[in-house]
Symmetry: C2
């Protein structure tokens, strides 16, 4: 017998309590039961996103929510800046291309980040830029971009800051209103510990003003319409009811733990995983601030990282993930976001030690776990 | 204690077996387990839609799938015919407007249908029309439109026939390839007995040829891209994993019952519900072929139909639905689609008798149920 462990950088495990809540009989979305559910969710999401704005919940995955952020605030021919330092930036680029936007690309090598000063310069050099599209946590590289500093730059301009927070919401501090982020884009299957299928979007007043000017065609993901219904606590179309039912449970769990504690937990798990990997002599991939959502590790010299991923699955029934694009075969990525605790880090590091040994890498068994335990032993 | 009964024309109840399958631990979508699941689903959906084409499964609800049918086969400025005889036709109109299509509207009063000859004439009069957008089952009126005859008309032209089968797939016979339907659009929460959040789309060769010419912008719901991945049995983006897990169970249930038997069951439930309503002296709303998915009934003279809906909820904890737009307050609608059996019809009619009496309508208790029982007693 092996216990299956989902430790990919998303989708992430769903707590049994949430799965069982979602397994309750289906309810209709125009009933008092759903009204109460939606009201509670709307209030909870405002606390989670730390905003006074309604957080919209269209039935789509993160990519749909990213597309909605673009199609609702921009028009064909508009110029945008894309901060490109990983695979999910490629998705911004693909969306921008599909909808006829002009792109000023600010590149950094995978594993690195783009300094806020470069954004400031690019905005100065391209005053027609209407939006800056970035990732907060770039889960393909394991890097956390400095969205707070980016927002300080965009706040002083007419451009809006659109943040892909798919793998940071409920994981890393991102107080939307306090920092001045204009669009927070997220999804259900990472920090929110839910099945994929629900998008999350919050827009600042500045972004809603941009939405008024936007002429890109949209209907299903028309956020202006969606908001009108949400403000009446009504669903515009049939919502993803079962995921909404799960979302209420998740928001209660997050409230019970306390949002600052949720962030602290992720930081600890992340630090412990990194300490464990380094104690095994491995090199971390990020050259800058690591994301607390996942740990990206360079495979040891001579080892194909995809073999590490395969051995996690074959020998331990653990799903982790490999690199994408330029990092394929070079890095492996261990998720510790959402429904993740110290026990998961111990499991992951124990498996890592065994996998490395299996692949012929000399390993001091227990060294990685010891590295993590030292972090856990610190006063929290 | 009351047992909650979801008898709306969607969302519909999800079988406990399916809910519990969906409550199993989350799996990753790039694993052998998901590969096997997706392969089984793709084969099962081809049997369900009766097509050789891949049936695509984007993470969205029915409206998203309707939008995708339009944005993937048409271009701004294209002319389309919309068969407008109910509230869901309004959705085709809204989508057409949002994406800059020219619309030739063929109207019929709610409760009625548009004869295929009118479509033939309109196509002759407007040879530039590229698509005919229709509902199969119009759940706002309880009417089943004659898609088979519509397809005979469109097959002889260059226009594609796009069918909203949201409340007919797995309910009413709709053999896509045999009839020559070009786009079948559906969703998870009606005949497929699943939570909302999954769209279904199948395109004929003629529709795929139209897709090649289509210039409307799209990314998240780009079906040409989606198909490339599906053909490799891969997910383009993170799929709605939990609903996909449920879908496998549902397809197994449908296979076990046999698709012809599934259609026969819906026809029987529909006939029995109509017989019951008529035995109570009520008038049915459809002036033409009724949909087997639901029964739309005119409220007795002097009774607001919305009071009937409210009394179903208040006195019996049963969710049915009222009219929309021009039929609001005039009709109530009882769903019997998907996970619905004779026992549900008995429950609905018993409650209907009690509700009518509660609202002051003279009722011969048992007469409605007797009407249904006579249908059930026929040799099936």
């Amino acid at each position: 017998m092996k216990k299956y462990q989902l430790m990919a950088p998303g989708p992430t495990p769903v707590p049994s309590e949430v799965l069982l809540a979602m397994a309750r009989p289906m309810i209709h979305h125009r009933t008092p039961a759903y009204d109460a559910l939606f009201r509670e969710i709307r209030a909870g999401l405002k606390r989670l996103v730390q905003t006074i704005q309604d957080v919209l919940t269209p039935a789509c995955t993160g990519t749909g929510a990213m597309e909605a952020a673009v199609t609702n605030t921009l028009s064909a021919g508009d110029s945008v800046i894309v901060v490109n330092a990983g695979a999910f930036a490629q998705r911004w680029l693909a969306i921008a291309k599909a909808f006829g936007l002009k792109v000023v690309e600010l590149e950094a090598p995978h594993g690195d980040t783009v300094a806020p000063e470069r954004i400031a310069q690019a905005l100065k050099a391209n005053p027609s830029v209407r939006a800056v599209l970035v990732q907060h946590s770039e889960s393909s590289t394991g890097v956390l971009h400095d969205v707070r500093a980016y927002a300080q730059v965009t706040r002083a301009t007419d451009a809006i800051l659109v943040v892909d927070a798919v793998s940071s919401l409920g994981i890393a501090e991102l107080p939307m209103d306090a920092w001045g982020v204009d669009v927070v884009v997220s999804a259900s299957q990472k920090g929110l510990m839910l099945p994929p299928g629900l998008g999350l979007l919050a827009l600042s007043d500045k972004a809603w003003a941009a939405a008024k000017r936007s002429t890109l065609p949209k209907f299903y993901l028309d956020l202006t319409e969606e908001r009108k219904y949400a403000e009446k606590n009504e669903a515009r179309f049939t919502p993803a009811v079962s995921i909404m039912v799960g979302l209420r449970e998740v928001l209660r769990m997050i409230d019970a733990e306390g949002l600052p504690n949720v962030f602290r937990r992720h930081t600890r798990l992340s630090r412990a995983t990194r300490a464990g990997a380094e104690a095994l002599g491995l090199e971390l991939f990020p050259k800058t601030t690591p994301s607390p959502a996942l740990t990206a590790v360079l495979a040891p010299r001579g080892v194909d990282a995809d073999r590490v991923v395969e051995a996690f699955a074959a020998s331990h029934d653990i799903t982790i993930d490999g690199g994408r694009g330029p990092t394929k075969g070079k890095i492996f990525r261990i998720g510790h976001m959402g429904y993740a605790t110290e026990t998961d880090v111990v499991i992951a590091l124990s498996a890592l030690e065994q996998v490395l040994a299996e692949l012929g890498v000399p390993v001091d068994f227990g060294a990685g776990i010891r590295g993590a335990q030292k972090v856990f032993a610190e006063r929290s």
